[in-house]
Symmetry: C2
Subunit: 227 residues, 2 copies
Amino acid sequence: MTLIESNNKSNLINAFFECDLKQLQKDYPSIKEINVSNKAFLYHQGNRCSDVFWIKSGIVKLSHITEEGIEVTITILGKGSALGCFWNNSASPEVEETVQALGEVNFYRIAKSDFRALMSHQAELAWHVFEEIYARKQKIERKLRTVLTQPVEMRVIATLLELAEIFGIKCTHGYALEIHLTQQEVADLVGASRSVVSTILNDFRNRGMLNYTREQICINDAAFISL
Amino acid sequence: MTLIESNNKSNLINAFFECDLKQLQKDYPSIKEINVSNKAFLYHQGNRCSDVFWIKSGIVKLSHITEEGIEVTITILGKGSALGCFWNNSASPEVEETVQALGEVNFYRIAKSDFRALMSHQAELAWHVFEEIYARKQKIERKLRTVLTQPVEMRVIATLLELAEIFGIKCTHGYALEIHLTQQEVADLVGASRSVVSTILNDFRNRGMLNYTREQICINDAAFISL
DNA sequence: TAAAGTCTGTTAGCTAGAAAACACAGATGC
DNA sequence: GCATCTGTGTTTTCTAGCTAACAGACTTTA
Protein backbone atom coordinates (compact mmCIF):
# COMPACT_ATOMS: atom_id res chain seq x y z
CA MET A 1 0.00 0.00 0.00
CA THR A 2 2.62 2.57 0.96
CA LEU A 3 5.02 1.53 -1.72
CA ILE A 4 5.12 4.66 -3.82
CA GLU A 5 4.98 6.91 -0.83
CA SER A 6 7.68 5.21 1.09
CA ASN A 7 9.89 5.27 -1.94
CA ASN A 8 9.42 8.97 -2.32
CA LYS A 9 10.24 9.48 1.27
CA SER A 10 13.11 7.06 1.20
CA ASN A 11 14.78 8.97 -1.57
CA LEU A 12 14.93 12.17 0.37
CA ILE A 13 15.69 10.64 3.71
CA ASN A 14 18.27 8.40 2.10
CA ALA A 15 19.93 11.38 0.54
CA PHE A 16 20.07 13.02 3.93
CA PHE A 17 21.53 10.01 5.68
CA GLU A 18 24.10 9.65 2.94
CA CYS A 19 25.33 13.20 3.43
CA ASP A 20 28.80 13.49 4.80
CA LEU A 21 28.41 13.70 8.56
CA LYS A 22 31.44 15.96 8.94
CA GLN A 23 29.87 18.37 6.54
CA LEU A 24 26.63 18.41 8.48
CA GLN A 25 28.47 18.97 11.71
CA LYS A 26 29.85 22.23 10.39
CA ASP A 27 26.38 23.70 10.31
CA TYR A 28 24.86 21.65 13.09
CA PRO A 29 27.66 20.91 15.51
CA SER A 30 25.55 18.83 17.90
CA ILE A 31 24.87 16.03 15.42
CA LYS A 32 26.34 12.75 16.51
CA GLU A 33 26.00 9.36 14.93
CA ILE A 34 25.43 6.59 17.44
CA ASN A 35 25.24 2.82 17.24
CA VAL A 36 23.58 0.75 19.86
CA SER A 37 22.93 -2.95 20.15
CA ASN A 38 19.84 -4.97 20.86
CA LYS A 39 17.79 -3.91 23.89
CA ALA A 40 19.71 -0.70 24.45
CA PHE A 41 17.56 2.24 25.53
CA LEU A 42 17.72 5.45 23.52
CA TYR A 43 15.94 7.20 26.35
CA HIS A 44 13.54 6.53 29.19
CA GLN A 45 10.25 8.09 30.08
CA GLY A 46 10.82 10.77 32.67
CA ASN A 47 14.16 11.81 31.16
CA ARG A 48 14.62 15.51 30.72
CA CYS A 49 15.76 15.07 27.23
CA SER A 50 16.27 17.91 24.82
CA ASP A 51 17.53 16.12 21.75
CA VAL A 52 16.03 14.67 18.65
CA PHE A 53 16.81 11.06 17.75
CA TRP A 54 16.62 10.20 14.11
CA ILE A 55 16.70 6.53 13.14
CA LYS A 56 19.16 5.84 10.36
CA SER A 57 18.80 2.08 10.40
CA GLY A 58 17.23 -0.57 12.57
CA ILE A 59 14.02 -0.77 14.52
CA VAL A 60 12.95 0.64 17.86
CA LYS A 61 10.09 0.02 20.23
CA LEU A 62 8.28 2.97 21.71
CA SER A 63 6.55 2.12 24.95
CA HIS A 64 5.29 3.47 28.22
CA ILE A 65 5.06 1.92 31.65
CA THR A 66 2.18 2.98 33.85
CA GLU A 67 2.45 3.61 37.57
CA GLU A 68 0.90 0.18 38.06
CA GLY A 69 3.75 -1.32 36.10
CA ILE A 70 1.79 -2.26 32.99
CA GLU A 71 3.79 -1.89 29.81
CA VAL A 72 1.97 -0.48 26.83
CA THR A 73 3.80 -0.55 23.55
CA ILE A 74 2.71 2.41 21.52
CA THR A 75 4.35 1.52 18.27
CA ILE A 76 7.33 0.09 16.48
CA LEU A 77 9.33 2.46 14.31
CA GLY A 78 12.04 2.09 11.74
CA LYS A 79 14.29 4.08 9.46
CA GLY A 80 13.51 7.74 9.04
CA SER A 81 11.50 8.18 12.21
CA ALA A 82 12.36 11.17 14.34
CA LEU A 83 11.88 10.81 18.08
CA GLY A 84 12.53 12.68 21.25
CA CYS A 85 11.94 16.25 22.06
CA PHE A 86 11.22 18.72 19.28
CA TRP A 87 10.40 21.85 21.22
CA ASN A 88 11.23 23.77 24.30
CA ASN A 89 8.12 22.44 25.82
CA SER A 90 7.95 24.62 28.88
CA ALA A 91 4.95 22.68 30.09
CA SER A 92 6.39 19.20 30.40
CA PRO A 93 10.13 18.89 29.96
CA GLU A 94 10.00 15.16 30.61
CA VAL A 95 9.43 12.74 27.78
CA GLU A 96 6.49 10.38 28.07
CA GLU A 97 7.87 7.31 26.38
CA THR A 98 10.71 4.88 26.57
CA VAL A 99 12.50 3.97 23.38
CA GLN A 100 14.36 0.73 23.10
CA ALA A 101 16.35 -0.80 20.26
CA LEU A 102 15.15 -4.06 18.73
CA GLY A 103 18.32 -5.41 17.24
CA GLU A 104 21.16 -3.18 16.13
CA VAL A 105 20.17 0.43 15.75
CA ASN A 106 22.03 3.29 14.19
CA PHE A 107 20.81 6.84 14.66
CA TYR A 108 21.66 10.51 14.65
CA ARG A 109 21.30 12.49 17.84
CA ILE A 110 20.82 16.23 17.42
CA ALA A 111 20.14 19.02 19.88
CA LYS A 112 16.67 20.35 19.23
CA SER A 113 17.97 23.81 18.39
CA ASP A 114 20.15 22.37 15.65
CA PHE A 115 17.33 20.15 14.50
CA ARG A 116 15.10 23.12 14.18
CA ALA A 117 17.76 25.04 12.28
CA LEU A 118 18.14 22.11 9.93
CA MET A 119 14.40 21.98 9.38
CA SER A 120 14.19 25.62 8.51
CA HIS A 121 17.11 25.41 6.09
CA GLN A 122 15.82 22.36 4.31
CA ALA A 123 12.16 22.84 3.59
CA GLU A 124 11.77 19.63 1.65
CA LEU A 125 13.25 17.59 4.42
CA ALA A 126 11.12 19.36 7.00
CA TRP A 127 8.08 18.50 5.00
CA HIS A 128 9.02 14.85 5.01
CA VAL A 129 9.50 14.86 8.75
CA PHE A 130 6.10 16.44 9.05
CA GLU A 131 4.60 13.77 6.86
CA GLU A 132 6.20 11.06 8.90
CA ILE A 133 4.84 12.43 12.16
CA TYR A 134 1.43 12.79 10.60
CA ALA A 135 1.52 9.20 9.38
CA ARG A 136 2.37 8.10 12.88
CA LYS A 137 -0.58 10.02 14.22
CA GLN A 138 -2.87 8.33 11.75
CA LYS A 139 -1.48 4.97 12.65
CA ILE A 140 -2.12 5.50 16.33
CA GLU A 141 -5.65 6.68 15.63
CA ARG A 142 -6.22 3.51 13.71
CA LYS A 143 -4.84 1.51 16.58
CA LEU A 144 -7.08 3.28 19.05
CA ARG A 145 -10.02 2.38 16.88
CA THR A 146 -9.18 -1.28 16.68
CA VAL A 147 -8.56 -1.42 20.41
CA LEU A 148 -11.96 0.07 21.08
CA THR A 149 -13.92 -1.96 18.58
CA GLN A 150 -12.19 -5.20 17.73
CA PRO A 151 -11.68 -8.35 19.76
CA VAL A 152 -8.16 -9.45 20.56
CA GLU A 153 -8.01 -11.93 17.71
CA MET A 154 -8.60 -9.24 15.09
CA ARG A 155 -6.10 -6.97 16.76
CA VAL A 156 -3.47 -9.67 16.65
CA ILE A 157 -4.02 -10.03 12.92
CA ALA A 158 -3.83 -6.28 12.38
CA THR A 159 -0.68 -6.07 14.46
CA LEU A 160 1.02 -8.89 12.63
CA LEU A 161 0.26 -7.39 9.26
CA GLU A 162 1.60 -4.08 10.44
CA LEU A 163 4.75 -5.70 11.74
CA ALA A 164 5.09 -7.51 8.47
CA GLU A 165 5.17 -4.15 6.73
CA ILE A 166 7.90 -2.82 8.96
CA PHE A 167 10.15 -5.86 9.30
CA GLY A 168 8.89 -7.87 6.45
CA ILE A 169 11.32 -9.64 4.23
CA LYS A 170 9.59 -11.56 1.49
CA CYS A 171 10.42 -15.20 1.71
CA THR A 172 9.04 -18.00 -0.41
CA HIS A 173 5.92 -18.47 1.64
CA GLY A 174 4.96 -14.93 2.61
CA TYR A 175 6.61 -12.50 4.94
CA ALA A 176 9.23 -13.47 7.42
CA LEU A 177 9.50 -11.37 10.51
CA GLU A 178 13.03 -11.96 11.51
CA ILE A 179 12.65 -10.22 14.77
CA HIS A 180 13.08 -11.31 18.31
CA LEU A 181 9.64 -10.55 19.57
CA THR A 182 8.45 -12.60 22.49
CA GLN A 183 4.77 -13.33 22.88
CA GLN A 184 4.83 -10.92 25.77
CA GLU A 185 6.05 -8.17 23.47
CA VAL A 186 3.41 -8.96 20.89
CA ALA A 187 0.81 -8.87 23.64
CA ASP A 188 2.02 -5.47 24.85
CA LEU A 189 1.76 -4.22 21.32
CA VAL A 190 -1.72 -5.61 20.84
CA GLY A 191 -2.84 -4.44 24.24
CA ALA A 192 -3.88 -7.84 25.53
CA SER A 193 -2.71 -10.46 27.98
CA ARG A 194 0.05 -12.82 27.02
CA SER A 195 -2.06 -15.91 27.59
CA VAL A 196 -4.74 -15.10 25.07
CA VAL A 197 -2.19 -14.00 22.50
CA SER A 198 -0.43 -17.29 23.00
CA THR A 199 -3.59 -19.29 22.41
CA ILE A 200 -4.47 -17.23 19.37
CA LEU A 201 -1.05 -17.57 17.78
CA ASN A 202 -1.21 -21.26 18.45
CA ASP A 203 -4.54 -21.51 16.80
CA PHE A 204 -3.29 -19.61 13.74
CA ARG A 205 -0.36 -21.96 13.52
CA ASN A 206 -2.65 -24.97 13.58
CA ARG A 207 -4.70 -23.45 10.83
CA GLY A 208 -1.54 -23.01 8.75
CA MET A 209 -1.71 -19.23 8.66
CA LEU A 210 1.70 -18.68 10.17
CA ASN A 211 4.54 -20.39 11.84
CA TYR A 212 6.98 -19.37 14.50
CA THR A 213 9.74 -20.33 16.81
CA ARG A 214 11.21 -18.29 19.62
CA GLU A 215 13.14 -16.28 17.17
CA GLN A 216 10.98 -15.64 14.21
CA ILE A 217 7.42 -15.31 13.08
CA CYS A 218 6.59 -16.22 9.53
CA ILE A 219 3.27 -15.16 8.15
CA ASN A 220 1.47 -16.75 5.28
CA ASP A 221 -0.05 -13.48 4.21
CA ALA A 222 -2.32 -15.02 1.61
CA ALA A 223 -4.14 -16.82 4.39
CA PHE A 224 -4.59 -13.55 6.23
CA ILE A 225 -5.76 -11.53 3.34
CA SER A 226 -8.34 -14.17 2.56
CA LEU A 227 -10.27 -13.22 5.68
CA MET B 1 -0.44 23.54 32.07
CA THR B 2 -0.36 24.60 28.45
CA LEU B 3 -0.87 28.24 29.27
CA ILE B 4 2.39 29.68 28.08
CA GLU B 5 2.52 27.41 25.11
CA SER B 6 -0.95 28.04 23.92
CA ASN B 7 -0.41 31.73 24.25
CA ASN B 8 2.66 31.54 22.11
CA LYS B 9 0.78 29.60 19.57
CA SER B 10 -2.28 31.78 19.81
CA ASN B 11 -0.29 34.86 18.98
CA LEU B 12 0.90 33.52 15.71
CA ILE B 13 -2.28 31.76 14.76
CA ASN B 14 -4.28 34.79 15.77
CA ALA B 15 -2.12 37.00 13.61
CA PHE B 16 -2.77 34.67 10.73
CA PHE B 17 -6.51 34.58 11.20
CA GLU B 18 -6.59 38.34 11.50
CA CYS B 19 -4.89 38.75 8.15
CA ASP B 20 -7.06 40.25 5.50
CA LEU B 21 -8.66 37.35 3.69
CA LYS B 22 -8.70 39.19 0.36
CA GLN B 23 -4.99 39.70 0.67
CA LEU B 24 -4.43 36.03 1.34
CA GLN B 25 -6.56 35.04 -1.60
CA LYS B 26 -4.20 36.86 -3.94
CA ASP B 27 -1.45 34.41 -3.15
CA TYR B 28 -3.63 31.44 -2.32
CA PRO B 29 -6.75 31.75 -4.42
CA SER B 30 -8.43 28.65 -3.09
CA ILE B 31 -8.83 29.97 0.45
CA LYS B 32 -12.44 30.32 1.45
CA GLU B 33 -13.86 31.28 4.79
CA ILE B 34 -16.85 29.18 5.77
CA ASN B 35 -19.33 29.29 8.63
CA VAL B 36 -21.36 26.31 9.63
CA SER B 37 -23.84 25.74 12.39
CA ASN B 38 -24.17 23.09 15.04
CA LYS B 39 -23.96 19.48 13.86
CA ALA B 40 -22.88 20.37 10.35
CA PHE B 41 -20.31 18.03 8.84
CA LEU B 42 -17.08 19.43 7.50
CA TYR B 43 -16.43 16.13 5.80
CA HIS B 44 -17.22 12.45 6.07
CA GLN B 45 -14.99 9.43 6.22
CA GLY B 46 -14.69 7.96 2.77
CA ASN B 47 -14.77 11.37 1.07
CA ARG B 48 -12.13 11.92 -1.54
CA CYS B 49 -11.21 15.20 -0.09
CA SER B 50 -8.21 17.17 -1.16
CA ASP B 51 -8.49 20.28 0.99
CA VAL B 52 -7.21 21.42 4.31
CA PHE B 53 -9.69 22.69 6.90
CA TRP B 54 -8.35 25.13 9.41
CA ILE B 55 -10.49 25.97 12.43
CA LYS B 56 -10.73 29.68 13.04
CA SER B 57 -13.26 29.50 15.83
CA GLY B 58 -15.52 26.93 17.41
CA ILE B 59 -15.12 23.28 18.21
CA VAL B 60 -15.30 20.13 16.13
CA LYS B 61 -15.60 16.46 16.85
CA LEU B 62 -13.41 14.04 14.98
CA SER B 63 -14.84 10.56 14.86
CA HIS B 64 -14.95 7.33 12.95
CA ILE B 65 -17.69 4.81 12.45
CA THR B 66 -16.69 1.18 12.07
CA GLU B 67 -18.27 -1.24 9.66
CA GLU B 68 -20.23 -2.60 12.61
CA GLY B 69 -21.66 0.87 13.16
CA ILE B 70 -19.82 1.66 16.37
CA GLU B 71 -18.89 5.31 16.64
CA VAL B 72 -15.47 6.05 18.09
CA THR B 73 -14.72 9.66 18.81
CA ILE B 74 -11.04 10.20 18.30
CA THR B 75 -10.79 13.68 19.72
CA ILE B 76 -12.32 17.10 20.08
CA LEU B 77 -10.47 19.98 18.47
CA GLY B 78 -10.71 23.73 18.63
CA LYS B 79 -9.21 26.87 17.20
CA GLY B 80 -6.00 26.52 15.24
CA SER B 81 -6.36 22.86 14.38
CA ALA B 82 -5.73 21.89 10.80
CA LEU B 83 -7.66 18.95 9.44
CA GLY B 84 -8.29 17.14 6.23
CA CYS B 85 -5.87 16.10 3.61
CA PHE B 86 -2.34 17.45 3.64
CA TRP B 87 -0.73 15.42 0.91
CA ASN B 88 -1.31 13.83 -2.41
CA ASN B 89 -1.55 10.58 -0.67
CA SER B 90 -1.56 8.32 -3.66
CA ALA B 91 -2.06 5.35 -1.39
CA SER B 92 -5.40 6.22 0.20
CA PRO B 93 -7.21 9.19 -1.23
CA GLU B 94 -10.11 8.72 1.15
CA VAL B 95 -10.10 10.37 4.54
CA GLU B 96 -10.52 8.13 7.54
CA GLU B 97 -12.50 10.37 9.84
CA THR B 98 -15.70 12.32 9.97
CA VAL B 99 -15.56 15.87 11.27
CA GLN B 100 -18.63 17.48 12.74
CA ALA B 101 -19.20 20.92 14.21
CA LEU B 102 -20.17 21.22 17.87
CA GLY B 103 -21.89 24.55 17.92
CA GLU B 104 -21.07 27.31 15.45
CA VAL B 105 -17.83 26.76 13.63
CA ASN B 106 -15.89 29.12 11.43
CA PHE B 107 -13.02 27.82 9.34
CA TYR B 108 -10.82 28.33 6.32
CA ARG B 109 -10.86 25.80 3.56
CA ILE B 110 -7.77 25.63 1.38
CA ALA B 111 -6.73 23.36 -1.44
CA LYS B 112 -3.81 21.33 -0.29
CA SER B 113 -1.53 22.73 -2.95
CA ASP B 114 -2.18 26.24 -1.69
CA PHE B 115 -1.83 25.10 1.86
CA ARG B 116 1.51 23.66 1.09
CA ALA B 117 2.59 26.83 -0.65
CA LEU B 118 1.53 28.82 2.37
CA MET B 119 3.50 26.54 4.64
CA SER B 120 6.65 26.90 2.62
CA HIS B 121 6.37 30.68 2.47
CA GLN B 122 5.69 31.11 6.16
CA ALA B 123 8.15 29.00 8.05
CA GLU B 124 7.04 30.15 11.47
CA LEU B 125 3.46 29.33 10.78
CA ALA B 126 4.41 25.97 9.34
CA TRP B 127 6.30 25.21 12.50
CA HIS B 128 3.24 25.93 14.57
CA VAL B 129 1.09 23.67 12.46
CA PHE B 130 3.69 20.99 12.92
CA GLU B 131 3.64 21.53 16.67
CA GLU B 132 -0.10 21.30 16.75
CA ILE B 133 -0.14 18.01 14.86
CA TYR B 134 2.56 16.68 17.13
CA ALA B 135 0.58 17.67 20.21
CA ARG B 136 -2.41 15.85 18.82
CA LYS B 137 -0.32 12.76 18.30
CA GLN B 138 0.85 12.91 21.89
CA LYS B 139 -2.68 13.35 23.10
CA ILE B 140 -3.89 10.31 21.22
CA GLU B 141 -1.00 8.27 22.53
CA ARG B 142 -2.01 9.27 26.03
CA LYS B 143 -5.57 8.29 25.29
CA LEU B 144 -4.51 4.92 23.97
CA ARG B 145 -2.62 4.37 27.19
CA THR B 146 -5.55 5.19 29.41
CA VAL B 147 -7.87 3.03 27.34
CA LEU B 148 -5.52 0.09 27.70
CA THR B 149 -4.75 0.50 31.36
CA GLN B 150 -7.47 2.42 33.17
CA PRO B 151 -11.01 1.44 34.09
CA VAL B 152 -13.87 3.44 32.66
CA GLU B 153 -14.23 5.60 35.74
CA MET B 154 -10.69 6.94 35.48
CA ARG B 155 -11.11 7.49 31.78
CA VAL B 156 -14.22 9.54 32.37
CA ILE B 157 -12.29 11.76 34.75
CA ALA B 158 -9.43 12.18 32.31
CA THR B 159 -11.84 12.96 29.52
CA LEU B 160 -13.73 15.55 31.52
CA LEU B 161 -10.55 17.31 32.54
CA GLU B 162 -9.44 17.34 28.94
CA LEU B 163 -12.75 18.74 27.81
CA ALA B 164 -12.51 21.34 30.54
CA GLU B 165 -9.26 22.50 29.00
CA ILE B 166 -10.77 22.86 25.56
CA PHE B 167 -14.17 24.32 26.40
CA GLY B 168 -13.51 25.46 29.89
CA ILE B 169 -14.79 28.81 30.95
CA LYS B 170 -13.90 29.51 34.54
CA CYS B 171 -17.01 30.04 36.58
CA THR B 172 -17.21 30.62 40.31
CA HIS B 173 -17.08 26.97 41.24
CA GLY B 174 -14.63 25.51 38.78
CA TYR B 175 -14.92 24.98 35.08
CA ALA B 176 -18.12 25.15 33.16
CA LEU B 177 -18.39 23.11 30.04
CA GLU B 178 -20.99 24.98 28.15
CA ILE B 179 -21.30 22.42 25.47
CA HIS B 180 -24.11 20.31 24.23
CA LEU B 181 -22.56 16.95 24.82
CA THR B 182 -24.94 14.11 25.40
CA GLN B 183 -23.95 11.22 27.60
CA GLN B 184 -23.74 9.18 24.45
CA GLU B 185 -21.18 11.57 23.04
CA VAL B 186 -19.17 11.50 26.23
CA ALA B 187 -19.31 7.72 26.13
CA ASP B 188 -18.08 7.65 22.52
CA LEU B 189 -15.24 9.90 23.54
CA VAL B 190 -14.33 7.78 26.53
CA GLY B 191 -14.70 4.56 24.60
CA ALA B 192 -17.30 2.99 26.86
CA SER B 193 -20.99 2.18 26.85
CA ARG B 194 -23.47 4.92 27.58
CA SER B 195 -25.00 3.12 30.51
CA VAL B 196 -21.84 2.91 32.59
CA VAL B 197 -20.94 6.50 31.80
CA SER B 198 -24.38 7.51 32.96
CA THR B 199 -24.01 5.72 36.28
CA ILE B 200 -20.54 7.14 36.79
CA LEU B 201 -21.58 10.71 36.09
CA ASN B 202 -24.49 10.24 38.43
CA ASP B 203 -22.22 8.99 41.13
CA PHE B 204 -19.90 11.96 40.68
CA ARG B 205 -22.85 14.28 40.94
CA ASN B 206 -23.93 12.69 44.19
CA ARG B 207 -20.45 13.10 45.54
CA GLY B 208 -20.56 16.78 44.68
CA MET B 209 -17.74 16.63 42.17
CA LEU B 210 -19.74 18.02 39.29
CA ASN B 211 -23.18 18.95 38.18
CA TYR B 212 -24.97 18.80 34.88
CA THR B 213 -28.16 19.16 32.97
CA ARG B 214 -28.86 18.25 29.41
CA GLU B 215 -27.06 21.28 28.23
CA GLN B 216 -24.03 21.75 30.37
CA ILE B 217 -21.52 19.99 32.52
CA CYS B 218 -19.96 21.91 35.35
CA ILE B 219 -16.90 20.45 37.00
CA ASN B 220 -15.71 21.19 40.48
CA ASP B 221 -12.12 20.76 39.49
CA ALA B 222 -10.77 20.98 43.02
CA ALA B 223 -12.63 17.78 43.84
CA PHE B 224 -11.06 16.09 40.84
CA ILE B 225 -7.54 17.19 41.44
CA SER B 226 -7.76 15.94 45.00
CA LEU B 227 -7.83 12.36 43.75
C1' DT C 1 25.09 -31.51 34.12
C1' DA C 2 22.91 -29.04 37.36
C1' DA C 3 20.70 -24.98 38.31
C1' DA C 4 18.56 -20.98 37.20
C1' DG C 5 16.35 -18.18 33.95
C1' DT C 6 13.36 -17.35 30.00
C1' DC C 7 9.69 -18.38 26.91
C1' DT C 8 5.50 -21.02 25.62
C1' DG C 9 1.04 -23.71 26.35
C1' DT C 10 -3.02 -24.40 28.89
C1' DT C 11 -6.44 -24.37 32.33
C1' DA C 12 -9.74 -22.54 36.01
C1' DG C 13 -12.05 -18.76 38.12
C1' DC C 14 -13.52 -14.13 38.34
C1' DT C 15 -14.99 -9.51 36.95
C1' DA C 16 -15.46 -5.25 34.35
C1' DG C 17 -18.19 -3.78 31.35
C1' DA C 18 -21.07 -4.57 27.03
C1' DA C 19 -25.89 -5.23 25.36
C1' DA C 20 -30.56 -5.05 25.81
C1' DA C 21 -34.50 -3.43 27.72
C1' DC C 22 -37.61 -0.33 29.79
C1' DA C 23 -39.43 3.68 32.57
C1' DC C 24 -39.22 8.39 33.15
C1' DA C 25 -38.52 13.34 32.08
C1' DG C 26 -38.06 17.32 29.19
C1' DA C 27 -38.45 18.92 24.46
C1' DT C 28 -40.58 19.58 20.06
C1' DG C 29 -44.19 19.55 17.18
C1' DC C 30 -49.02 19.09 15.48
C1' DG D 1 -53.77 18.84 24.50
C1' DC D 2 -51.70 14.60 22.71
C1' DA D 3 -47.96 12.33 20.34
C1' DT D 4 -43.32 11.83 19.21
C1' DC D 5 -38.49 12.27 20.01
C1' DT D 6 -34.35 12.71 22.47
C1' DG D 7 -31.79 12.17 26.47
C1' DT D 8 -31.20 10.05 31.20
C1' DG D 9 -31.38 6.42 35.03
C1' DT D 10 -31.28 1.74 36.24
C1' DT D 11 -31.36 -3.23 36.20
C1' DT D 12 -30.42 -7.77 34.43
C1' DT D 13 -27.91 -10.92 31.76
C1' DC D 14 -23.90 -12.60 29.57
C1' DT D 15 -19.18 -13.03 27.95
C1' DA D 16 -14.46 -11.64 26.46
C1' DG D 17 -10.62 -11.50 28.37
C1' DC D 18 -7.80 -10.75 32.65
C1' DT D 19 -5.28 -12.95 36.61
C1' DA D 20 -3.03 -16.56 38.55
C1' DA D 21 -0.86 -20.63 38.44
C1' DC D 22 1.78 -24.28 36.88
C1' DA D 23 4.14 -27.59 33.63
C1' DG D 24 7.07 -28.27 29.90
C1' DA D 25 10.67 -26.79 26.59
C1' DC D 26 14.60 -24.44 25.49
C1' DT D 27 18.95 -21.37 26.91
C1' DT D 28 22.35 -19.58 29.51
C1' DT D 29 25.53 -19.68 33.31
C1' DA D 30 28.61 -21.89 36.43
